[in-house]
Amino acid sequence: MRNTKWFTGLLVLVMAVSLLAGCGKAEKAPDAASAPAAAEGIKIGVLYSTTGPFSISEKPMLNAAKLAIDEINAAGGVKGKKLIPVFEDYASDPAKATEKIKKLILQDKVVATVGTNSSASRLAVIPDVERNKSVLVYNTYYEGEKPSPNVIYTNSVPSQQSADFIPWIVKNLGKKVFFVGSDYVFGVTSVKKAKAMLEKAGGQIVGEEFVPLGHTEFSSLINKIKQAKPDVIFSAVAGDSVVPFYKQYQQYGLSAKDMPICSIATHEATVKGIGAAAAAGHYSSFSYFQVVDTPESKKFVAAYNSKFADNTTVTNLAEGAYHGVYLLAKALEKAEKYDGPTLISAFKGLEVDSPQGKIKVDPTNNHTWLQSRIGKIKPDGMFEIVYSSNALVKPEL
Amino acid sequence: MAFLELQNVSVSFSGFLAVDQVSLTVDKGETRVIIGPNGAGKTTIIDMITGKTAPTSGKVLLGGADISGRNPHEIAGKYKVGRKFQGPNLFDYLTVYENIEVALAGHSSILKTFLYRKNRAISDEIKTILDQINLYGKRDVVSTSLSHGERQWLEMGMVIAQKPQLITLDEPTAGMTADETYKTGEMIKTMMKDKTVIVVEHDIDFVEQIAETVSVLHQGKVLAEGSFAEVKRNPKVVQVYLKDDDEAVA
């Protein structure tokens, strides 16, 4: 009986406090909102998951964005004002991402948001970005479909990843190509576009298979590949499936020497998980690899590794977030007002020197002209760049 | 006239013959007590009558209808057989009042539970039952806070609320004090005066208090049948009880 009373007292207290916390927070909100937006700084939203499964790609992106923001602020900020990042974690749940983007735009009054990684979360937040005439800077390679006028896409679309890759494959590795992809928009669209390019390049499609997202059992797929006897596998397998795919590819006796995998989604971090032995000899195509030999790249990798000791790896995605923030800073520098349409138009034609080299935003389609590189995985787990476009590749949707 | 009739029923559980070719006839309005040592098959017979167990062979007839193997809810609802379990079997976190209210006859289909409105007649009925089982004062207490004896009474009240034509009571006095046992006997006599009642019991004094006819079961078979006085004198019965179960006579 005494116990119960004690508990109840505590309980009432807890409830009261939480309710007050809720209301208090809520009541405070209008003040924050009505305060003149960013008197001493410019608020930008940074929306990445540090919890849940998406954090595998988004933690490095968050780190890179933080790094870029710190560098920009250390160099004096934008027009003398510091960038004030507002970090939000959407816990790998697209439904929560819609809530967080609203919070950033409506509550924190950010001028733009850098973030999201998977198509699911990007597509989830876009309607709110559009409705509120805000700006999203999206830094991941994606399928290049349904672009939004309120989004700046700073990483590659399939045409950029495959435009040079496919002809190179036909020329150097073989004509008969087996296509595999994760069964979602990115995988399916990338494969569709790559197939068209292959036919143009004179190659031959010997098979096509899609595996469910998150799939980890590849014995059936490998069986089908073997029966088709291709020269090369073109892979748009993404996410959690990448590591098991390569591991089992080797386990079932397929080797990079006879039948290399040419991927548009396998980067340095996944290679670590696959293990250099199983990964060596396969190819990937990205605009950026850690080994890219520019002063910006060296500085970026060194700064990243010294600043973040959280077992994350610099990849094309991290570089995308890094140059995405730089592009945003430049656009903020150029724009007179920070409303959505003005800011979006400030992006058009912008150029920055990024770790991957000089890149520029297309004046018409909100996408970015990027480098195109093909890397071969070395036995030490790093990439060796075997092809470089040496010119910017146009983003074609 | 036979109201309940068991015709050569047997029940076997994976080879073990719990009830063996038992035939039993109970007349309307009769109070029949079934006694017998542990494992004699008494509870299994109740199980069969109430539908918990289907007979492996043989038939159970109630008012001429064959009810063997029917669902418990059908037997309880359509054929109006009430059952009090061995050891109180109640709705634990419902109040005393609610336990009786749930049991009320005639409101057991889903549609009827929606149409049900509590009126004066119903609440009077519940009050009457609660008075009879001496629990009106505790009507708003959860059944778990009752004493063991009170819980047994509450279940008897539920059986009454069911308005059954046949009542089966499985050891209604188990675990009761002598005083409570006596009160229970009086309750059965008054509350179930005009009903057909089958009681399974161990307590010989209690049996004497309520019994009209007694059937003795032993190893799944009917050993003897008759008035309490007759059965008590039957040498076979005495032998069985002496041999198998000392505590039962005590």
Partner: protein, 286 residues
């Protein structure tokens, strides 16, 4: 035809893996009525132990199997003693507590070791090639280990005093207590054993699957499917249902989407349960 044959052979090693990942779940669920939502996280921790033992400390794989078992068994015992112990008999509460635990464990590992995949090498490289059908040695090893685990657990449950006490406790807890069985110790041991098996499963799948904080979520659902088909507390039933599920899904997946195959298998299970509620392969009743 060749596809069919090689799919069925693949199905065997998939079955072995499913059996290994599901067994710990079945033991804890079937014997203790605890729906262990953190089972996947125990698998994950086993895989991380393997990563540290083999990749960081370069010890042999067999050592890592042992270490993974012991480490997760210890963790399981600890959790049983501090949390589960207070919640026996409350299905909802244990479920929620283990769910909370899974959140905590996953995020702790993520914060401590980073979100990215860890590498665990393949301990057995070679493979047999029989008429165009490739069978990796490691798959045979998996099948062998699965059979060994099956034999050992069966022996443990049916031939040892511990197993006898355990079965006594599951059948009638209070009676077992009266007869002097230390039920608390049996509970702890059983939970530890189930957790240890999860850890072992983690070690065994680490070389062929991802090793990362959220990896556990991929195994728990198939585990529960296996339980549904195989029945409570039935170790042999778990083995049989692992084979049935994996074989049918793998073979069908040669011809249709694996998920459609899985959904079909599950619907069949639901309909079957209507007629055989104790699970398909249970012969003895609890």
């Amino acid at each position: 035809m060749e596809l069919l044959i090689s799919q069925s052979i693949n199905g065997l090693s998939v079955s072995a893996m499913l059996f290994i990942t599901a067994l710990g779940l079945v033991i804890i669920f079937g014997l203790m009525d605890v729906v262990n939502m953190a089972h996947g996280e125990f698998i994950m921790i086993g895989a991380y132990v393997t990563y540290f033992v083999t990749t960081v400390f370069h010890a042999p794989f067999v050592v890592s199997m042992l270490m993974a078992f012991l480490a997760t068994a210890l963790l399981g015992a600890l959790i049983e003693l501090t949390l589960i112990r207070r919640l026996y008999g409350k299905v909802a509460e244990t479920l929620l507590a283990t769910f909370a635990l899974s959140i905590i464990l996953q995020q702790l590992v993520r914060m401590a070791f980073g979100p990215e995949d860890k590498f665990v090498g393949m301990p057995l490289e070679g493979r047999f090639n029989v008429g165009g059908i490739v069978i990796p040695h490691y798959n045979l090893f998996l099948i062998f280990v699965a059979v060994a685990i099956l034999a050992v657990t069966l022996a443990l449950f049916y031939k040892t005093p511990y197993g006898m006490q355990l079965r006594a406790v599951t059948k009638n807890r209070s009676m077992a207590q009266c007869l002097g069985v230390n039920t608390a110790r049996i509970d702890t041991l059983t939970f530890a054993c189930g957790s240890g098996l999860a850890g072992l499963a983690g070690a065994l799948i680490a070389p062929v699957k991802s090793v990362m904080p959220s990896m556990g979520s991929y195994y728990i659902v198939d585990g529960f499917l296996t339980v549904v088909l195989g029945g409570f507390a039935s170790i042999a039933g778990t083995a049989a249902s692992s084979v049935v599920i994996s074989e049918s899904v793998t073979v069908m997946a040669g011809y249709m989407s694996e998920i459609t195959a899985k959904v079909l298998v599950f619907l069949v299970i639901i309909v079957l349960i209507r007629f055989k509620p104790e699970g398909l392969f249970t012969t003895e009743k609890r």
